[in-house]
């Protein structure tokens, strides 16, 4: 441990910490190289990551606070916010239930085909969002495999909330399970087995023993899943039908305003999602500290 820790100290501090001083710091590059690399990294991150983020807020406020606030108060914008919140909330509940079930089965038990199951759970990560939307259109759309049955029974899936939720669940499918599985595998089953053998019912054991151990990882998964759910564009765009004031989520509303050259209004709505991203990042950093403790314990 001490060696690994020492690696991250500045070379001078390390030399001091050692009883026999090192002849020279061997573990670092010349100052010129060091500054060049730091400069390159900072310049790249500033130009490619920070500047686009700043642009969002600069553009949103480019025509003043009045235009900014008006864009957010507009009926269609409010409906887009509402729809985004509803779709994300439903998806999150489904993801949490699924994530907990999958993690319990995979982390606490041994069974054949486990690694295949984990690969399947990962699948949505590598599928293009557009393809994710398309598969639901092919299933439930007017010309889809089950489309006619749903139309006969007057159930709207595509171009309606259910389709948006399905597409959102598809793209956020792995997030919660992926956070929980490694942690629960590390933690093993000893604590739960003790509780069960002392006579605690299964569900109570889960609530009182397992859940406290995994609560930060669960929150972390929910956080990432939520950020993706509220921001999903490609998959939702394909299934939503872009009906203004009805099936437009925030990202789709941003697109419509942008294509109508209402740039300030478009960036105003975008700034809300950018704020969400920033809040997500801050919470994520906080949670990562908690998680690091869980993983060590």
């Amino acid at each position: 441990m001490s060696v690994a820790d020492a690696t991250f100290l500045p070379a001078d501090a390390r030399a001091e910490a050692k009883p026999a001083p090192a002849p020279r710091p061997v573990n670092t590059e010349p100052a010129a190289v060091r500054y060049a690399l730091i400069g390159l990294a900072v310049a790249f991150l500033s130009l490619f990551i920070v500047l686009p983020l700043v642009t969002v807020f600069a553009q949103a406020l480019s025509r003043g606070w009045d235009v900014y606030l008006a864009a957010l108060h507009e009926t269609d914008a409010l409906h887009a916010v509402y729809l985004t919140l509803v779709a994300a909330a439903i998806s999150l509940v489904l993801n949490v239930v699924f994530g907990l079930c999958a993690a319990w089965a995979i982390a606490k038990f041994e069974f054949p085909g486990k690694s295949v199951l984990i690969s399947f759970i990962d699948l949505p990560f590598s599928v293009s969002p557009v393809v994710a939307g398309l598969v639901f259109v092919l299933m439930f759309g007017a010309q889809g495999l089950f489309g006619s049955w749903f139309i006969d029974n007057d159930i709207k899936i595509i171009f309606a909330l259910p389709g948006i939720v399905l597409a959102t669940v598809f793209v956020t499918f792995p997030f919660v399970a992926r956070e929980l599985i490694p942690l629960m595998q590390e933690q093993g089953t000893a604590e739960e087995e003790a509780a069960i053998s002392l006579g605690a019912p299964g569900f109570l054991t889960f609530l009182k023993v397992t859940l406290p151990n995994i609560k930060w990882a669960l929150l972390y998964g929910v956080l990432l899943s939520n950020a993706r759910a509220m921001g999903e564009f490609g998959a939702v765009s394909v299934v939503s039908g872009h009906i203004r004031g009805e099936t437009n989520t925030m990202p789709l509303h941003i697109e419509i305003l942008y294509n109508e050259y209402q740039f300030a209004a478009s960036f105003a709505v975008a700034s809300l999602l950018a704020l969400l991203a920033l809040v997500t990042l801050v919470l994520k950093t906080v949670l990562e500290h908690r998680l690091a403790k869980d993983h060590k314990a």
Partner: protein, 285 residues
């Protein structure tokens, strides 16, 4: 209660667990996975199977489709390559050096993960358009980014960066400083140490990061379509062509392109899994 003794010694767990809920949780997992992921994806293949093979071939070998695939895969490859190079510099600076704002820069690496793609798309477009902050400067140099393939490249570099950084960073953090010191004390130059000790250790993680960034970039839609200009055969990516065909109700065309994309992502996923296994084995010798 006889199970108690068995349960406590964790080793026997594999044979018979005392924990409840295996059947129901596995059942729910498999049912939900089948319903949401497997059946819809299988539906895509089923729909493709209704096309005659000739029809399928005609669609995917048409100039516009081939060009869209070439653009998506080609630019994604270049962007992932860029991410490997610049991502390595970022990882190196963040893990090896102390500088003001290091923690903040470390946190902002994740912005492309957290920022919705549509927001990233319009922001990059505003930035690189000719009246934008960077676009104006680049225009004076005669470089046009927005509404050209170069714009697609910029967007894909943006969204791919965190995949490389977050894959390589933990490996570099774990890299034992003693190995490098040993190599140096045996007379290796710093350049030799980097080339012979550091790079081989990071290689599996670098390749994994490359594959992840590439896989994400190939299917990217939201951040690309605003900045791309979307000129058929020039700056039209494959996911956009799927959407266009869908809006024209040419379902067969949309499906055929989607199947190609999906098979490509299966192959990539397989490669990523292999790489990650290799990377894990590499980290714990």
């Amino acid at each position: 209660m006889t199970a108690t003794a068995v349960g406590r010694s964790g080793r026997i767990r594999r044979e018979k667990s005392v924990l409840p809920g295996f059947g129901i949780t596995l059942g729910i997992t498999i049912a939900w996975l089948t319903l949401i992921i497997l059946i819809p994806l299988a539906g895509l293949f089923l729909k493709t199977a209704t096309l005659s093979f000739d029809h399928f071939l005609t669609i995917i070998t048409s100039t516009r489709v081939l060009n869209a695939l070439k653009i998506s895969f080609g630019i994604a490859f270049l962007a992932a390559l860029t991410n490997i190079v610049l991502g390595s510099v970022v990882v190196w600076a963040l893990t090896r050096y102390e500088f003001p704002g290091r923690r903040v820069f470390d946190a902002i690496v994740d912005i492309p993960f957290a920022l919705p793609t549509a927001v990233a798309g319009i922001a990059l477009t505003a930035l690189y358009a000719e009246n934008g902050w960077l676009g104006g400067l680049l225009a004076q140099l005669g470089i046009k980014v927005a509404y050209t393939p170069l714009g697609i490249y910029v967007a894909l570099v943006f969204i791919g960066l965190p995949f490389v950084v977050r894959t390589v960073q933990p490996v570099l953090q774990d890299l034992d400083g003693e190995l490098e010191e040993a190599a140096s004390s045996l007379g290796a130059s710093r350049f030799q140490v980097i080339l012979r000790v550091v790079v081989p250790t990071l290689l599996p993680a670098l390749l994994t990061g490359f594959a992840l960034a590439f896989a994400r970039a190939v299917g990217e839609y939201g951040s690309v379509i605003f900045i791309a200009g979307n000129l058929p055969n020039v700056s039209e990516v494959a996911p956009l062509l799927i959407v266009i065909r869908l809006e024209e109700f040419r379902y067969a065309d949309a499906t055929a392109i989607a199947v190609i994309m999906l098979v490509a992502s299966f192959v990539l996923l397989l490669i990523i899994n292999r790489l990650q296994a290799w990377s894990e084995a590499h980290r714990r010798p």
